[in-house]
Symmetry: D2
Subunit: 340 residues, 4 copies
Amino acid sequence: MNTPAQVISVPDDPERYAYSFGGGSPVVTVEPGSIVELTTEDCFGGRVRGADDLPSRVCTFPYLNPVTGPIAVAGAEPGDALAVHFVDISPARDWGVSSTFPHFGALTATHTTAMLHPALEERVWVYAIDAKAGTCRFEATRGDFAVDLPLDPMHGTVGVAPAAGERLTSISPGVHGGNMDTPELRAGTTVYFGVNVEGAMLAIGDGHARQGEGEVCGTAVETAMHTVVAVDLVKGGAPAVPRLENDDFLLSTGHARPLEDAFRISQHDLVQWTAELLGLDRLDAYQLVSQAGLAPAANVCDTQYTMVAKLPKRVLGTARAYDGVHERLRALGADHLRQR
Amino acid sequence: MNTPAQVISVPDDPERYAYSFGGGSPVVTVEPGSIVELTTEDCFGGRVRGADDLPSRVCTFPYLNPVTGPIAVAGAEPGDALAVHFVDISPARDWGVSSTFPHFGALTATHTTAMLHPALEERVWVYAIDAKAGTCRFEATRGDFAVDLPLDPMHGTVGVAPAAGERLTSISPGVHGGNMDTPELRAGTTVYFGVNVEGAMLAIGDGHARQGEGEVCGTAVETAMHTVVAVDLVKGGAPAVPRLENDDFLLSTGHARPLEDAFRISQHDLVQWTAELLGLDRLDAYQLVSQAGLAPAANVCDTQYTMVAKLPKRVLGTARAYDGVHERLRALGADHLRQR
Amino acid sequence: MNTPAQVISVPDDPERYAYSFGGGSPVVTVEPGSIVELTTEDCFGGRVRGADDLPSRVCTFPYLNPVTGPIAVAGAEPGDALAVHFVDISPARDWGVSSTFPHFGALTATHTTAMLHPALEERVWVYAIDAKAGTCRFEATRGDFAVDLPLDPMHGTVGVAPAAGERLTSISPGVHGGNMDTPELRAGTTVYFGVNVEGAMLAIGDGHARQGEGEVCGTAVETAMHTVVAVDLVKGGAPAVPRLENDDFLLSTGHARPLEDAFRISQHDLVQWTAELLGLDRLDAYQLVSQAGLAPAANVCDTQYTMVAKLPKRVLGTARAYDGVHERLRALGADHLRQR
Amino acid sequence: MNTPAQVISVPDDPERYAYSFGGGSPVVTVEPGSIVELTTEDCFGGRVRGADDLPSRVCTFPYLNPVTGPIAVAGAEPGDALAVHFVDISPARDWGVSSTFPHFGALTATHTTAMLHPALEERVWVYAIDAKAGTCRFEATRGDFAVDLPLDPMHGTVGVAPAAGERLTSISPGVHGGNMDTPELRAGTTVYFGVNVEGAMLAIGDGHARQGEGEVCGTAVETAMHTVVAVDLVKGGAPAVPRLENDDFLLSTGHARPLEDAFRISQHDLVQWTAELLGLDRLDAYQLVSQAGLAPAANVCDTQYTMVAKLPKRVLGTARAYDGVHERLRALGADHLRQR
């Protein structure tokens, strides 16, 4: 039986939502080894509820993508790794929404990929979420095609305060995490961040009932979430970029433009990580990752694009990342869920 | 019982290997609906056989990446789709090789991403292939780490003659196919090309015992292959980019730099394909692909990078791509294998 | 005779240097129409003074690229344009320095264009500045080649507080300006920024005795500067990106990666600006800019790359940007210099 | 008095225009040291003559961008440099045309930067060319704005047969030259190509009465040209990329996507060239080019983007590129013009 240092519920207070990483005072401070329960609002602040709620009309920049936090972790110092294990991510509503948004998305001119085209049509899709059946339902807005897609809840946004005193909007991904928008960030996954400020200042938001790789149109099936995480520290273990781990894979992330740089960052980190865990020469690790690795897109729409590099843990033999913190937090979380 | 129009074996004649797509006379002409058996040499022309056979020493540019073909398909005309179903891909040797190559790969300066660094070390890895066990064995060149990886044979290079009278080396991918280097191109998969010249002029090479997504170091586990394909025509059905289909997924490919353009092309084509198959409005198809799709990298090292966009066929209901040619060719191939 | 609203000297206090745009309290508040005199330290904080002062050794991240400011402009509100005319930029020393820096520059692997190469050698070049002769002297570090280059003083960094409450390090360029590193920012040039916060919060630094286009190796001929600017407001005139104007050209800037997006942003804004000034249809403006415009690189090394789009004012006939504020501030500055 | 080896006029025969680099038999063979006079058709094959001649209607793919040639140069072998000095480029008509073209240009979705937008409007602009006044006249298609722009005749397309037996359409730029679309390629400039096949196989086309940097909308002021070139060989002097030289500058070109790779290639080659000419250490050359160089865009619309890196010859002292071939060919051309 694993006992958490603390079990803490973050009060769900829309007045306390943050819209940036960096700055602001913590909503709560927790000990390493704690379980934290929290609620997150969707990226539209819950304002898009139907076909007529066009985001550009009902949302007000920069009050987009609210995050719950920051949560200070006692004892976290620059150079440490903060480990955040997602114990549970459950939709807080029986519906989610997605939309196109003017000049946002992968298949449209944007303010960055600037062109002379008028914006694509802004349109909202409402998905019925059936948690029991494990589905969310796509319904065409023109014609009557509909299909149930597997529910696969995840958080698009999770991160810590950036380095160098920067304060970045919650819609940006980067080495601090933030709006990474990878479907890999589901329950059962541990994410590792390099700590940049005392307390680390973790914040979480942007729940997705599911998301395709690349988040092509710019939004996923956005919904509010009830989420449980277990947090811990690896003293002195700060990774260069956010890393993820689940029972089957190690995953490194890269956040950059152009997309090949996001790819390079993620692969470079995975090569490095593999070399360290296996005591391999770097070119040997390069070779191994080249043949054994996977490379799915996360987002190709945000201010930085995100690529993921994945290595099956099977090739690691008995080597364990971060001395097994993933396994410990997973056990801690499982016990917590059983007791609820 | 399905009967092929013809069963043809392409003689394995190293003198007849081609090194480009476009130009050259066909090694054989086959009827639509035929089974073709052929052998391919590895991308090094079989010259790299051990740690001392550095590719830059034993290979001579431009005699790299030999392809078997071109195979003319009777009746193929510009505007048609050529469907090539991979019935079987079996390593022709019990070993494969991989290597770094000066100024080639994703994590090195190249002649295109030009920098002032000297080249990374050129090094060769030899993999033992155990077809029965279904493995190929990675062995570190420094230290004694080794691990068996799953055998997953595929072809890096398959394509047709390009449009506009172009003649392109076999190391380039593009809308004509060519060196796409996606691990999705395994047995059980049908690939569709737009035909640009009479006879289509199919050629195949660059077998990989397995390949990671992105082909990070620039080469896979390269080996010679015995391969069986079933070919057919879809009159007037030319896709804009090479498309793949297997029992579970529709896949569109994009070949471009930067990598986000390869992503955009592949997603754009998948949105278009989905809209056509389901009779959906384009924005509805954009939304559906955004939530249901996958987006793995294929290669991030060749003259054009390749991304793949995948949609589970489950979301298509009863809709069938190209009137079911994939299913027909798969059945044809299965019967052929049973009879051997 | 033109009379400034105020003539204000910002005290040169290294303790007050800022290292970010956004946050911090103003060092001074000035009226629109004022002349401001200030001193800036070089990007190394003055710590690199000779061949042995390797930046990675003598500088401490994030205390790089100090800027003088922020300077609040009374009455500046979000939506206004802040016009900053550079009256004079004079080297404050008779020497400047440049250097390579590990994993920074256009022809090296970086943390973003991540590769397995070790860093290029870090090396310092010291330039003798001869203000009277108007030269700065390149001397090779290996061998005895030397050549005088024309002195062409400019500021690499000038900008305002970003939108959305962001706080960005002074090494980043963006829509708020910042580390744009364009040689176009010399005396005689007016730069226009969109105001994001009350007071605009102007800051200036990173003087260059001269800089090539692209800032290829990552640094210019860095030196401290005595600088005079004239500032004014154009109420409600906020441009989408920083714009520049000199006697001969209108210039729009784009800050993004990949470089073609920086190009697109700059050209898109110049097309828009031209259409507005001449009352042209947008496609007509697109055509005119396409034939009459210039497109030099600014930096291809910073966190965002910067491209510049230039249109000769000659094609504008009598049309004047921002109602002639450039001409007025230039006259104001000229009178001020005459009186010194 | 300089005497050319030969003075040869290439007959102007539209039946003999080529549409690719590589393949085809020479229209003429010339000795090194010769003067060649030729005529080129515009990129539309002369078919766009007024506002109603929309290119997508009157032109037929792949019969775009005709080039005059190939011209074989006697004795040219792989590894040599072919030097082509542009003695004179004179518009053959008193009008030129420009246009937008569906899904082509820098500020529009393309087949590569694939998006869901419909194409921008296709429109034609006709320019009056006044050779005597040295102007070409822009006239708006909506409203009555008009302005004379300086005539600045140049060739968008000039190149040799590619390596590796490739055959590339004349609309593609690359290391073989081709559709580089840089305004630097005007009379008075010498361009150097690496020779890939016997005879080099020079071809020239795509005359522009003038062109902005970046060729933003995708086309310049296109017109037919009467052109005189002087050609010579530098045995064994093949550059890695096309290089240019005029009386004031050395210029290296880079052709790639993304645009930063085109930038890197051009700067890398210029650093290399500078190091060789001055006997400098490579990092010293990197530093010198970084401070003294210019970096204008050439095209940001073609299948590869083109950047130019320029170094003032003033910094070279007495060093001369290619042993002074530029100066010799310029003198040869000047004498030829005087004698006409």
